[in-house]
Symmetry: C4
Subunit: 238 residues, 4 copies
């Protein structure tokens, strides 16, 4: 069955909102309870985020492919798995979806609805981390794209982000919509607005590099490549 | 193979009892061992609850659909996936099942068998959290309902609750039977009896909203939608 | 393909040895590193044990069914899924396998190879916990026995034990061979030799109760019930 | 579809680099944040490593089998599942891949790019641990090799390593390329260069022993045995 573009765009909006609410909300809860033990706070934040990704990709994958990430939608366009106007529609839903996710987390935790982050995340190690993180994320998505199991991509993406939270110095944002949405929260998971653009530029570079590499590693039968982020059939194209 | 209603109702009773025993019991154990480190206690409680959900949905899903949650059974009725008399029978098993779960946890940990909670959980942030939590839970269930993998819904629901424990301010009850059962334990996971009804009302509102939304997102071929909570075929209707 | 009994018995011996080495070894490591933080030590012990179960059932399930537990083999006999002489052969491999697992853990951690535990685990709450724990374990095994996914039972059993470590007061031994093997280690996971027999008796009672209940819940077509602990076909009988 | 050897060798290089970056990088992050709480640091390191393995095997398995481990490629040669020249090509990619992984972790965390470890890991308990760890890893790979589920081997290997981090005294390197790569980082996960060779020799012995044992346990129809580390078909041989 095919889903029309409107349903898929709503799915991307909802999915990204829930993803960001999970990242930001669990960060607030973890920081409140951990009493200064940052390792423990990050562990809780990590487990919540990875678990949310597994659940959300299984939930929205069958509808929209569950990109929830402009870098992923852009990569789908690059490999001609989605027409560009649809890529634009997806991205146009993901950014406001992410912002709504932050606001929702603030409301649930009785925080000021909006606050600019003062958390500095700059410098070459941070940018290299984001390049590696997004390169890895797209590698996972392309590598899993031929697997037939409906749970392979959701599990792989969730597991990857759990690992990447810890093995990159930036805790692996790897997602332009999430990055923007995390600039308007002055809590555990925030990022200074001034650091957003370099993060996004590096993420896009990592996504392009992985996509080109896997075009060579897993070439040709593009038709055999299924919807990246979900393992759901690409029939899901309006 | 079809299961008769009596077997399915027993499965709902048992499943809900085990679910609540897992929530309440692991909360008692975690609080005892964590010596005031609430983040660590909640992390143990989270992992135990999410793992219990995965195991219980895989176990009872093939028999009854493993709703273990009146909000889920009610939503099945709303979408006409279950006749209303069966919905009532399920719910009539889930509430006492949950209560038995609390008593069982008390017995195992040598607590007074029954004690009213003094844990206040009130205010708009808490209620918004329960609305979001149950909206999300039903979204996960409907979103996974077309997936063919037998492990997709169990993994998605367990992973979702692990995340929601941390990204909502209420630690995501999202279940009227569990909410009632947690009012009679004055331990880590308790809730004041006076806070129960507003929680349940908000949970039902969240469940209805998600169900109506996914009726539009994943419409029409209702016949293609399988038993919500388990991915098990709905043939399992006596 | 059918495996001969000798290969299956070796698999049960190896699997039980690895399971006990994982339980006892991770308990030693966790206690050493946690510096008195019991909640953290138990969390590490829990995650290691649950993960070991997932890996071991996936590994040995296709050969022997990966019971690694006399209560499980006994239950298979009760439901006539295995002839009694094979049940006896399995159990005769599991007990020494468990003992070897403890010795192996001691050798790896440079402990005295053998030491009787002084860890008291007695009283009705402990015994009720073991009854509930083993009742639940067999429920999981029988409930998953019709699922076709090869990963359902391994994931369900691993997840169940992770939960049961926390929601029972005994940390859920639920396995006579593991119970005996844990009596000869005076470390984190030990149990006094004098407490072993009551534990085993209660475990067997829990296993029988669950097996009789699921005989009614999931009746008749015994042929449709596959090898309990692994989801592997019972064709695996020499 | 068959992949040519060049693509598969690149996949092995990339996969091993990411694996080591995950091990070393998450160790650095965990040590920095845990403020001396070694149990918590190791728990974070464990979860990151196990999750990385799940993601990487799902990603690179369909291309190269995702060995990412010379002991695994060698064992494939032993059972004639790969021609020896390809085994050599794989191993020749894994060692430099691992080294690049360490350097990448150093760059992301702004560490000196290269530093010899002072972390002593010697003595019989450590070597016995590595023998057991690698014996177990190969057992998992061979045991899962007949399972049809695409997620069985990735989940089993990730879960096994999570357990083995805790139940062996060496934290289970079980991989010659990872061992070498961890000798050039003077951080949490390092190993003194002088301890590398005994580790590797013991790992190879453990791999050979498990391979010979499973040749007997799961004999004959070698054709039925699929690519060890990934569950991917061995058709993936150029």
């Amino acid at each position: 069955m095919k889903f029309n573009l409107r349903a898929r765009v709503v799915a991307e909006f909802l999915g990204t909102a829930f993803l960001v609410a999970a990242v930001v909300g669990s960060g607030i809860m973890a920081e409140r309870l951990a009493e200064g033990n940052i390792a423990l706070a990050l562990l809780a934040n990590t487990i919540a985020t990875g678990s949310a990704l597994v659940a959300l990709i299984l939930t929205f994958g069958p509808i929209s492919g569950a990109h929830m990430n402009p870098a992923v939608s852009f990569a789908m366009g690059l490999r001609r798995l989605m027409p560009w106007p649809e890529v634009v529609a997806y991205i146009a839903a993901q950014f406001p979806g992410g912002v709504v996710g932050t606001l929702l987390a603030h409301l649930m935790f009785a925080q000021p609805i909006f606050s600019l982050s003062h958390h500095q995340r700059a410098g070459w190690p941070q940018l290299l981390s984001e390049f590696v993180a997004t390169f890895g994320l797209l590698s996972v998505i392309w590598g899993c794209s031929r697997t037939k199991s409906a749970v392979a991509t959701p599990i792989a993406v969730g597991a990857y982000i759990i690992a990447a939270y810890w093995f990159t110095a930036s805790t692996s944002f790897a997602n332009p919509a999430v990055t923007l949405a995390r600039s308007i929260t002055d809590t555990f998971t925030g990022i200074r607005p001034i650091d957003v653009l370099p993060f996004i530029a590096t993420q896009v570079a990592g996504a392009i590099t992985a996509t080109r590499l896997f075009e060579w590693l897993l070439p040709s039968e593009v038709s055999g490549v299924q919807s990246g982020a979900s393992g759901a059939p690409v029939e899901a194209r309006g």
